[in-house]
């Protein structure tokens, strides 16, 4: 059993009571909701004649179904319009703040929380979305929940949960050039497996993690769930506080910041904290990573051969064989040179300002391959506006990328942004499941933003380190 970790401390501070079923009832500090998983929960509440307990601690956005080309109402897709109006009615009736697209604050739920300063250290945060783990980057305990649990939270501002084991993952050393947060998390999932984290919360630590900015930490915590861990976190530090200071939660209220800081310091894992286990990964050995299969654990370095299923542990063979058939790759080949049709730069993993900056600075002076359909979907309206203020949109559009409005978009293809037929997509998102990007024959290759740009430029998966330098006039 762990002791003295951030997880233990935040858990204890939020425990309301132990329930008769043995689970703990945890108070929820922030409940984020969106249009796909909340309507049924509001429906259940109405059936039971229960009111939303803490609308003040609930915050809504719309992201999964919003179109990214034309957001004017009514939305072109009737089903999407119905979900949008349902959300509008629910939040209005309950008095919940809602970042709809006319506010300039709309965006993917895991992008808007942090950028508005809603996400803070030492909080418990839940949302009906598995990538809620993202918010752990701030030292919050953040979990994805199902619709019945959303009902619980709306009704009681608390959630019933079992306490889990805490695994510390130490990523040591310095990352090499063009290797970033996405490559770290893909490596972790590859090493520990897509179910390695079941029953665990991941604490990410070590110099390679600490040297990352908040956005990189968010990319890592975001994909904890792809590794089977329901939550992942990084202990708060000066980097965290810097970010918070600039958000509207504290920019005009520095006193509040000083008031809360001792709490944030107090919930950090102790130096002598005990973990259920500790895993160490050598960050300096990580190279740009890509997926070769149809689970986020089927990962190889871009220059590394795709494994032979017969040489894998038995439990993984059949999945690997089917994945290779779907992706049309052969063992022994590398992913370097794998032809792509679409480049997607977006999602709650990698569509924040720093992702767009890194991608744009690499793209400058290059052009998208004529056979590639390339799009950038900023994570939020604020990210979009900030990028435009810096002229990043021009870099993307001049090179041949489509510059779109904020939303989940082709991460899961619930709006019109989808793969067509068996198109292959270089994607900065987090899931390469069969059918994930809207076409069941579509082929998704997950990679970092800069690798997406490299693939967009050459028309194939490309080791970004081998592209010749360009001089920008």
């Amino acid at each position: 059993m762990s002791r003295g970790t951030l997880y233990d401390k935040v858990w204890d501070r939020h425990t309301v009571t132990t329930l008769p079923n043995g689970q703990d009832q945890l108070f929820v500090g922030l409940h984020l909701i969106h249009e796909v998983t909340s309507p049924q929960a509001f429906g259940m509440l109405r059936e039971r004649d229960i009111e939303v307990a803490r609308p003040d601690l609930t915050h809504a956005t719309v992201d999964h179904i919003v179109p990214t080309a034309d957001q004017s109402r009514p939305l072109g897709d009737d089903a999407a319009e119905e979900m949008m109006s349902e959300l509008e009615q629910n939040v209005k009736a309950a008095g919940i703040e809602f970042d709809d697209p006319t506010t300039g604050n709309q965006g993917i739920v895991h992008v808007i929380g942090p950028e508005q300063g809603l996400t803070q250290p030492g909080m418990t945060i839940v949302c009906g979305d598995s990538h809620t783990s993202t918010h752990g980057a701030f030292g919050a305990l953040a979990f994805g929940i199902g619709t019945s649990q959303i009902r619980d939270v709306l009704a009681t501002q608390s959630i019933a949960m079992d306490k889990q084991r805490v695994r510390q993952i130490r990523v040591t050393g310095e990352l090499s050039e063009h290797v970033g947060a996405k490559d770290i998390i893909l490596t972790i999932i590859r090493e520990l497996g897509t179910d390695g984290g079941v029953g665990h919360v991941y604490e990410y630590a070590g110099e390679a993690i600490e040297s990352l900015g908040m956005e990189g930490r968010m990319s890592i915590c975001n994909m904890s769930i792809e590794g089977g861990a329901r939550a992942g976190y990084v202990n708060p530090d000066e980097t965290t506080y810097e970010w918070l200071r600039d958000t509207e939660a504290f920019a005009d209220d520095p006193e509040r910041f000083e008031e809360l800081r001792p709490y944030w310091e107090s919930i950090k894992s102790d130096d002598d904290a005990e973990y259920d286990d500790v895993v160490e990964i050598d960050g300096s050995a990580i190279e740009p990573c890509v997926t070769w299969g149809t689970t986020p654990g089927q990962v190889a370095g871009v220059t590394e051969p795709i494994p032979d299923p017969t040489e894998l542990p038995e439990a993984k063979r059949e999945t690997a064989r089917r994945a290779q058939e779907h992706m049309r790759v052969e063992p022994g080949e590398t992913m370097n040179g794998y032809e792509i049709d679409v480049a997607f730069l977006g999602s709650c993993t990698n569509a924040r300002l720093s992702d767009l900056r890194t991608a744009a600075s690499f793209l400058e002076g290059r052009t998208v391959h004529p056979d590639v359909r390339a799009m950038v979907v900023p994570g939020s309206q604020r990210v979009k506006a900030a990028a435009e203020a810096e002229g990043l949109d021009a870099v993307f559009t001049d090179a041949g990328f489509d510059w779109r409005d904020a939303g989940c978009s082709m991460c899961l293809g619930m709006n019109e942004d989808q793969l067509d037929g068996d198109e292959a997509c270089a994607s900065s998102s987090n899931r390469n499941f069969v059918g994930r990007q809207g076409s069941k024959d579509g082929r998704t290759v997950l990679m970092s933003p800069v690798m997406v740009v490299a693939a967009a430029v050459t028309g194939e998966v490309t080791d970004v380190r081998t592209l010749p330098e360009v001089t920008v006039a």
Binding site: R13, H14, V16, T17, L19, P20, N21, G22, Q23, Q25, F27, G29, T37, P39, Q40, R48, I50, A53, L57, D77, A79, E82, M83, E86, Q120, G128, D129, S130, G144, G146, T147, S148, Q149, D152, T156, S158, I159, A160, D162, T194, D195, V198, I225, G228, E259, L260, Y263, K316, E318, T319, R322, L412, M414, R431, F433, V434, G435, R436, G438, K440
Partner: protein
């Protein structure tokens, strides 16, 4: 609160589930496969049953493919038998909702993704586990004898079935997560009702948190 008491009283206890089985083989079957995202553009869960495993069951022309959920002999099955890491990926409760509305009342597997298992519990669907060998034996039995009646006993943590010329009874040991077991057996899996009765303690916890205003 009288309301929540009434709710709590109406939650049935689920000691055991009986019915014929349907095997769906493969590790890492994610919720995108169980219910593709395009079927989630709905504001209620009604009608999701027919879309369970849709892309595994139908091709682009909507012609049927080979899938146990398409086979006539499994149409009345209520116990799903799966392999490892079933229900991984997205947290969508649409996945267990689709399975439940198709007719599934219990799932036996090597392992389950956590959010998925939690979502199942919220619907009163047990997710019980056994080792690879046991699962494989069960899947083979169900495939060869689809009319075999399985009893998933949550309380005693067993799966029992009768088969063979002399209707010999076989009992397999399975595991049920302790919290899930208590919740199902004691009929306290409706957590809304359970938690709502602690309103004072909720307020007290909130008042002690420096960040809650």
């Amino acid at each position: 609160m009288s309301d929540s008491d009434a709710d709590a009283a109406s939650v049935p206890s689920i000691d055991r589930v009986s019915g014929t089985g349907v095997p769906v083989r493969g590790n890492d079957i994610d919720t995108d496969q169980i219910i593709p995202a395009r079927f989630m553009k709905v504001v209620t869960f009604d009608g999701l049953g027919e879309f369970a495993f849709f892309d595994q069951r139908f091709d682009d022309q909507d012609d049927r493919k080979d899938h146990p959920f398409n086979e006539r002999r499994f149409q009345n099955a209520s116990v799903l038998v799966v392999n490892a890491n079933f229900g991984c990926g997205s947290s969508r409760e649409h996945a267990p909702q689709a399975l439940m509305r198709w007719g599934i009342d219990a799932i036996v597997g090597e392992s389950f993704a956590e959010i998925f298992a939690g979502n199942c519990l919220a619907l009163g669907i047990p997710t019980v586990t056994a080792d690879e060998g046991t699962i494989s034996e069960l899947q083979t039995t169900v495939e060869n004898h689809p009319d075999t009646e399985l009893t998933v006993d949550v309380e005693t943590e067993t799966v029992t079935y009768e088969r063979g010329s002399d209707d010999q009874s076989t009992t397999l040991d399975v595991a049920v997560d302790p919290a899930q077991r208590t919740a199902l057996v004691d009929g306290i899996w409706d957590t809304t009702a359970l938690m709502k009765s602690n309103e004072q303690a909720i307020e007290q916890t909130a008042a002690d948190l420096p960040y809650i205003q």
